[in-house]
Assembly symmetry: C2
Homo-oligomer: 401 residues x 2
């Protein structure tokens, strides 16, 4: 069953706002065995919404609209739907009463324009909004949600559960498996896994994320076992480049491993400047294992806070294997990480170019130093340093500890 | 002049990849006085691309397509365009030669399939790709670019410069001015500025970003002076909530101000865990003023690295005004920032709920403590703490120093 999505909102077209709703809609549709065929983004103009609905009606079975359900004058989605299905807009007394109560509970003043939030085409079915004002409205295979992400998240699953039951379309649910790789190029990944995909109905693709490259395997739910067999083959061939599946992330994996091994961790950062600590601290429950971080951006701090020797700094420079090593020796935990590098845009030389980074990892008494020259701008170099440090730590914890 | 954008790529629909190209396209179109009317995202399927082109032809003057220009079999954008304009696909000898030379220079093997990258509908004009293989192709008000962002960035401006000259449409260029506010709700902003927009051709809207809310003023270039007059009025009325314009960011502003005042800075972070230091260190040239950061996540570190008193921790708890104060006193620079709070999801209580944060700011001997209860998940609470600390620092530096 094919779905078309219409996103309504001028701010989605003029560069003012990035659309994240449609990714969420895509994932939810997949879970419910439905497939997004295309999406159209239009401005808050009557003609553009109408013509997008008309285009969808000719090409898909279900139309999902997000945006334009609010109380202001430029919120016209429901008006246009009513016009398209040739029904008048009505207000249900009970729904109006409920809306007024919501305003009262929230301590907000109910104004005449707010009535718009419970308007709907006559004959429409509504889905309750637990986190905002306007309910979702469904009529004739067209459903409209508010554009506010949390309200969409609240009502879309409810609607889809109802819709697939109503239309009896649960038989072709989609199964997706993501393998998250790090440290291997997309072209090499492709060469490595291509041979496993000989069946017609099992697809794969590569998705480049900031935390690694995903191998996404996709098929019907009835092929789940076949997909899992291919997953095993991929692990056998390139398992050392795979650090997790589905919702795994490098920092989550590090925290899990350290908890299991009962080890605590500290960081000493120069070029990444707190980004490494911040990534780890974004994981809930990290306080059991994260002890401290030092952002030793100046040479004085490297000396005073971490005990790096002045002679080492003078002899080898701040961006060097030796300083990376002395930085991790200044930390007292079981595991210690350090970074020192040239993030640019200035400060590079022929011998030490922008992008040169040393990453130190200490696990109890054992010290490992990684040297890399990363490409990209200042932010990218810093992000790559963080990812590479975490991935290397995972590899060492898995193999050596 | 109206433009429709077609984004080609299955990965843009299944939740695998967030589209950033279209925001870039929107900004470039604005600069050239063109207006994006809508965008359609389709999969790499012949029928879907064809039907999207057909829909655009009926609704806009220029069609910009991104994606599907590569060498693999599912790259079919140019085939579909050729079919739509009823021209055969041809290969220009010079362009093929040039492509082969690119491969040689890059040390890559040229394969038969790569010929596809220089195919084009007969009569098409091409635009040179300086950073990749496939050139952009234009015919009959349809132009196609590769989906790779850097290749699009390379060729779109070239194409638009040519196109507006060719079609003589430079007279209605658009002027955009962003005022970046912080610390005031969208509804209050609206009430404050609405009265200034009485002219028909000058629009405004609010864009919610992670670093604040933008007031975007937009009009034709010929109205620039009128827009600037409104900007002045807005500054007079709510200037204390405006921290910058256009490409300004909180951290950039902080670094600029500190350089001007010749002051250096350090950070002591608990709940933000390095995010504050990392934001500042993302600004190029920050090394002149950033001295050090301490991520004092555990109580021991607060005591050992910052000299917070054990009694203070015992008496008031780690999340308290007193501890925020002692944390900044443990830093030696002109300016010192501290954060301590409960980012959740666990650790909250009735008295100290999730979201409670104390932020300390010391400027030489003067100490300021901000207390807030932020809403949102762990990441959001941490991000809000960072933004609020930086904004408060800017305000104090502007007013008190």
């Amino acid at each position: 069953m094919k779905v078309g999505v219409i996103l309504v909102g001028t701010e989605l077209l003029n560069g003012g706002m990035l659309d994240t709703n449609s990714l969420y809609i895509a994932e939810e549709l997949n879970k419910h065995g439905l497939e997004m065929k295309f999406k159209i983004t239009v401005r808050d103009f009557r003609d553009e919404i109408y013509s997008a609905i008309d285009y969808c009606k000719k090409n898909v079975d279900l139309i999902i609209i997000s945006g334009g359900l609010g109380p202001t004058l430029d919120d016209i989605t429901k008006e246009v739907i009513a016009e398209y299905v040739k029904k008048p807009l009505i207000v249900d007394d009970d729904e109006l009463e409920e809306l007024k109560e919501k305003f009262e509970r929230a301590g907000l003043k109910f104004k005449t324009l707010n009535v718009k939030e419970v308007e709907k085409p006559k004959g429409a079915i509504t889905f309750k909004n637990d986190v905002g004002m306007a309910p979702a409205v469904y009529i004739d295979d067209i459903v409209a949600f508010p554009g506010v992400p949390k309200e969409l998240y609240n009502m879309l699953p409810k609607f889809l559960d109802w819709y697939v039951k109503e239309k009896k379309i649960l038989d072709d649910e989609i199964y997706i498996k993501d393998l998250i790789t790090y440290g291997i190029a997309e072209s090499l990944l492709d060469e490595a896994v291509r041979e496993f995909f000989t069946e017609d109905e099992i697809y794969y693709e590569f998705l480049v994320k900031d935390y690694g490259i995903l191998i996404r395997l996709q098929s019907k739910m009835s092929n789940k076992n076949k997909v899992e067999k291919i997953v095993k083959k991929i692990y056998n061939k390139i398992g050392k480049f795979i650090f997790g599946e589905d919702s795994d992330r490098l920092e989550k994996k590090v925290v899990e491993l350290l908890k299991k091994l009962n080890m605590n961790i500290s960081t000493a950062e120069s070029c990444t400047g707190g980004m490494l600590a911040s990534k780890l601290i974004d994981v809930p429950g990290v306080s059991d294992i994260f002890y401290e971080g030092v952002v030793s951006y100046s040479n004085e701090t490297k000396i005073n806070r971490l005990g790096v020797k002045k002679e080492t700094l003078d002899k080898y420079g701040a961006v060097s294997e030796e300083v990376a090593k002395e930085m991790i020796m200044g930390l007292t935990t079981d595991v210690a990480l350090s970074t020192t590098g040239i993030a640019g845009p200035d400060g590079g030389s022929l011998e030490k170019p922008v992008g040169l980074v040393y990453m130190g990892i200490r696990i109890r008494d054992k010290v490992y130093i990684e040297k890399r020259v990363f490409k990209g701008d200042r932010s990218k170099i810093r992000e790559k340093t963080v990812s590479h440090t975490l991935f290397t730590l995972i590899k060492i914890l898995n193999e050596d500890v």
